[in-house]
Symmetry: C2
Subunit: 281 residues, 2 copies
């Protein structure tokens, strides 16, 4: 595995792979890698000739009151995990390589970015989309691998790729979970032991909804009520939002007539966790 931090070097490599007709699979990350990330690398390993992983804690996607400074980092551990997963190139640019001091240009997006997580994190998805667009132009991959845990992010990036005609295919892979159902996330490292136990409430609530759906319940309002009750019963949990949405447009649904997505964000102490589940009637 080769580690590189210079943007121009990565771009030259990307261009040479593209003109050499080598299929590059790209896994963009913010580091502090867990099995969810590794599963993306393993999938890329099966389908592509070259795997590029980026580690870049993107300041554009953090709000002023958010956790940029304390976001967990483990460069040495991350490099070892990438090497074990068979990654070919680890791209670790610093901030000034990727973002101008006074950035003027951004990937803008209406509708999809100002709902759900976009409400409590204004500017977040614009920051995500902008950095992903820049990374795609540098790495020039054939396939982009994203994890389903960040569901809204996959919709936003998918829409950007489609609408801007970016020459890359987006592959969304299933969320990887701990044994007790908690979705893997770098932010799980913030949780105190008691909070860690409480954090399973997201998965428990989703599975209760799924079970109720199987009994024939189709009302989004009644299904969401199950989530509210379950989260409400967990003292250290506070609901940010729970919605059942059209998986393409993120618009809230009244009834589940075809495949829908249950999406939720829950504060466990000072840590905000998100999760989602496909609901098939």
């Amino acid at each position: 595995m080769k580690t590189l931090s210079r943007r121009e070097e990565m771009r030259r490599l990307g261009a040479s792979f593209r003109s050499g007709k080598l299929r590059v699979g790209f896994v963009p990350t913010m580091g502090f890698l867990h099995d969810g990330h590794i599963s993306l690398m393993e999938e890329a390993k099966k389908r592509t000739d070259i795997i590029v992983v980026s580690i870049f804690v993107n300041p554009l996607q953090f709000g002023p009151s958010e956790d940029l400074a304390r976001y967990p980092r483990d460069p040495a551990g991350d490099a070892a995990k990438c090497r074990n997963a068979g990654v070919d190139y680890l791209f670790t640019p610093n901030v000034s390589e990727m973002i101008d001091e006074d950035p003027l240009v951004f990937a803008g997006m209406s509708k999809l970015t100002n709902v759900l997580c976009g409400v409590s994190r204004p500017g977040h998805f614009q920051g995500v989309a902008t950095i992903v667009l820049k990374l795609l132009n540098v790495v020039q991959p054939s396939l982009l691998y994203l994890g389903a845990k960040d569901f809204q992010q996959t919709v936003v990036i998918g829409q950007m790729v489609r609408e801007l005609f970016l020459p890359v295919k987006v592959i969304v892979r299933p969320t990887v979970r701990e044994k007790d159902g908690l979705a893997m996330s770098s932010r799980n490292s913030y949780l105190f032991p008691e909070e860690r136990k409480a954090a399973t409430v997201l998965y428990r609530a989703m599975k209760l909804v799924e079970a109720k759906l199987k009994t024939g319940e189709r009302s989004a309002e009644l299904l969401k009520a199950i989530v509210l009750r379950e989260i409400g019963n967990e003292p250290s949990a506070r609901l940010d939002y729970a919605e059942i949405v059209n998986p393409a447009t993120l618009e809230p649904l009244m009834r589940i007539e075809k495949e829908a997505r249950l999406v939720l964000a829950v504060w466990i102490g000072k840590t905000r966790l998100i999760d989602n589940l496909s609901l098939k009637p």
Copy 2:
């Protein structure tokens, strides 16, 4: 010359040229081609292996009260001119090929787009940048040719290409002028004969400024006063703006200490014309 209107066909061709290491020179236009456009094609002919010209009257860059519906068009004449200029591929997508019915994604830009022409044409440069970004992703050229007449456009696109790390080099070529100095523009076709004569006032004003600069005058205020007076003396002309700006940032200058740009927009009857000149002290 091959004419194609399908986006996917153009994209496949672009990808094959890129992987074949053929240098593509791309000239995006809104059609109704004049010698300014042709000069871009001729320059591309000298420097690249394949020339692609697009003709697309981009609705995103027209305001609701602007001239989209009456924008001049001449598909047959344009095709002949392209063929004569040695163009290899003429890309003429229709609107639905390039723009979703309900577009959600755009290339956003702060500062550079809300000054000069951006004041009287809000949303214009965002529309330009968005369509150029999409066209670049489809055509995948090595070199992008732009005319200097649309100076702010060259700055906006240059900044987008730099900041998003787009794998293309921007080449800005000099404005081509009629014998009497009027910058060539598709919109000149709107001018009535008397207006056509009056339209030379832009060039005359700029040359007066240049002459005054040569005498040692460095005050932007005093140099701009020359433009105001000259435009004021032309009955059918009405000034939109005249500024002397930093050519990279478009910020207005007080004094001309190094290369600056005189930029102006003038209404001649119901037609708005723009022009610009490099000022070297």
